[in-house]
Amino acid sequence: MVLVKDRKLSFGERCYVKSIVAGLLYTFSNLFKRKVTRCYPEQKLAPGPSFHGVPVLVKDADGHPKCVACGLCEYVCPSRAIRIVATETERPIERMPKTFEINMLRCIECGYCEEACPEEAIVMSQQYELVASSRGEMRWDLNRLLTAEAALGPRLGYIRKTFHRFQADPRAEGTARAVPGKGGTGAGKPGASQASALARYRDGY
């Protein structure tokens, strides 16, 4: 369980020669090995669906933002990068953002906005190169943020796979839905009450 590490130098090592020759040989052998670096600006990275690029807003088929300006992303953002002004709309969703601004200088790309969003309206894109010549250009407005749903396909697929349901969802397995218990949201003590609360959660509300 306990491993005592100790090391004395051998005679060859004490003469400097052995380890220096071994080190040099190893270093030179790397000349003939596979190159591990990438020439970045020429060879672009191809991020996978899990990649967190800059957050963007999803545009629906009619060109409207899916966002209903609930303000949850604005609230959850740890770096307070998001500013939303809401307005009303005649469309069935009733509310939409009048202005939606993400300050990309503040954004840390943590993805909490995406996780909090109840509408699948803000998602992390695969864009990772952020360059501007002024601070103002880094404040992306609604027009700049809106991205067609088709362009975000892999990420939306990832979200659906990751956040959509629990691994072993009893409903998915066809378990009969139990009678909903009385909803209790109070901060109870862990233990019996928690177990029953968990059971309620498992069986549906």
Partner: protein, 400 residues
């Protein structure tokens, strides 16, 4: 302060103590640390680490953020092992709320924590060798670190500051394909450590610069509050993963390397062996990944599944409630884990509101920093640099 007699002949030669500023921009100070040295010739007679150059008020931030939001800040404490900070904070709040973490989430956390120990120790190896003047190890360490970051990037979406741990578990499970490649990497990694050791372990230049330099015995180390590899290098086999197992560490077979002398060389040997052991743990944890869920089903603290949020009012309410107003019960908790640099502790006090009343971080880097003066005083100035490297701290965590 020890009285080191000057070797300079007195008499008509006028000598005086010289004050020398090392840092805050010195390349060997691991961030922005200033060390004010008082020198008598080449001998250090006093030393004062000036910390605070990287103070960003992370603990104060916690009082103005929700519990969930502060995860983003924990990443930025010890930025060489962000996920360990997240795990520690999550465990503290989970204890406060009484959330039971599923086994699969715990095993995933073990994998992530050991990956972070590897990246932290790789940086240690890279820097400590560079400080002696060995440049090649730096590139070798970064080679493996990049490989590991590529894998973590694929899992978490971010290379560093991953924000992957959630209350009750982790954000996503490790996909089977990625788990296979990560296991392959972990199985291959010990041979890379052999390569690292080939370069400097038996090298007499490194040996002479490290052996019997910066010696600390167990009693001194304990008195200074040292933990982790620095304590184990003195021969004390204290490791929280064995002493107070968390996240199911008791299930894994690994050994605690300890040193014999407690010098720079022992700290190096211990960390190199820890890397091999960490790779073993990753391999075991991935091979025996339990079935089940990666996050607890706790309706009060864990966000509901998204597809239900879109359709059901009840889940929608919980989504809003948890994001904006998750309130752990009143109480306080201290949770410690074995991070790469020593015992990392999170002390969280809740007053029952949606924001922590106070969060304090017991940062191993800060305790390590305190040891700098007793180790260095009386030694030559050229030894200060390897000692600073060997006690391994990160200023982001030290200053917070």
């Amino acid at each position: 302060m020890t009285s080191q007699t000057s070797t300079v002949p007195q008499g008509d030669l006028r000598t005086e103590v010289m004050t020398l500023n090392m840092g805050p921009q010195h390349p060997s100070t691991h961030g922005v640390l200033q060390v004010v040295l008082k020198l008598d010739g080449e001998v250090v007679i006093d030393l004062e680490p000036e910390i605070g150059y990287l103070h960003r008020g992370k603990e104060k931030h916690a009082e103005h953020m929700t519990y969930q939001q502060w995860f983003a800040m924990t990443d930025r404490l010890d930025y060489l092992s962000p996920l360990q900070n997240e795990i520690c904070y999550a465990m503290a709040v989970e204890q406060l709320c009484g959330i039971e973490v599923p086994e699969k989430a715990q095993a995933t956390r073990v994998v992530l924590a050991e990956c972070m120990r590897l990246t932290a120790h790789l940086i240690y190896y890279a820097c400590v060798a560079l400080e002696i003047g060995a440049v090649t190890p730096y590139f070798l360490a970064f080679r493996e670190r990049e490989d590991l970051f590529d894998l973590l990037d694929e899992l978490t979406g971010l290379r560093t500051n991953q924000e992957f741990v959630r209350f009750g578990g982790v954000k996503a499970e490790i996909p089977a394909d990625l788990a296979r490649r990560l296991k392959e990497w972990a199985d291959r990694f010990p041979s890379c450590v052999d390569e690292y050791e080939l370069l400097i372990t038996g090298n007499r230049i490194w040996y002479d610069r490290a052996r019997n330099i910066g010696v600390l015995n167990t009693a001194q180390a304990l008195a200074l509050g040292l933990t982790g590899p620095n304590l184990r290098a003195t021969g004390c086999a204290h490791d929280l993963r064995k002493a107070e197992p968390y996240c199911g560490y008791e299930k894994y077979d690994f050994e605690i390397p300890v040193g014999t002398v407690g010098d720079v060389y022992d700290r190096y040997l211990v960390r190199m062996e820890e890397m091999r052991q960490s790779a073993r743990i990753i391999s075991q944890a991935l091979a025996a990944m339990p079935a089940g869920e990666h996050i607890a089903r706790d309706y009060r603290h864990v966000l509901p599944p998204k597809d239900r949020v879109y359709r059901s009012m009840e889940e929608l309410i919980y989504q809003f409630k948890i994001v904006t107003d998750m309130r752990p019960p009143r109480g306080e908790v201290y949770q410690a884990i074995e991070a790469g640099k020593g015992e990392l502790g999170m002390y969280v006090i809740s007053d029952g509101g949606p924001r922590p009343y106070r969060v304090h971080v017991r940062a191993p880097s800060f305790a390590n920093m305190i040891a700098l003066k007793p180790i260095c005083v009386g030694r030559l100035i050229s030894d200060v640099v390897p000692i600073v490297g060997s006690i391994d701290f990160v200023m982001g965590e030290c200053d917070r």
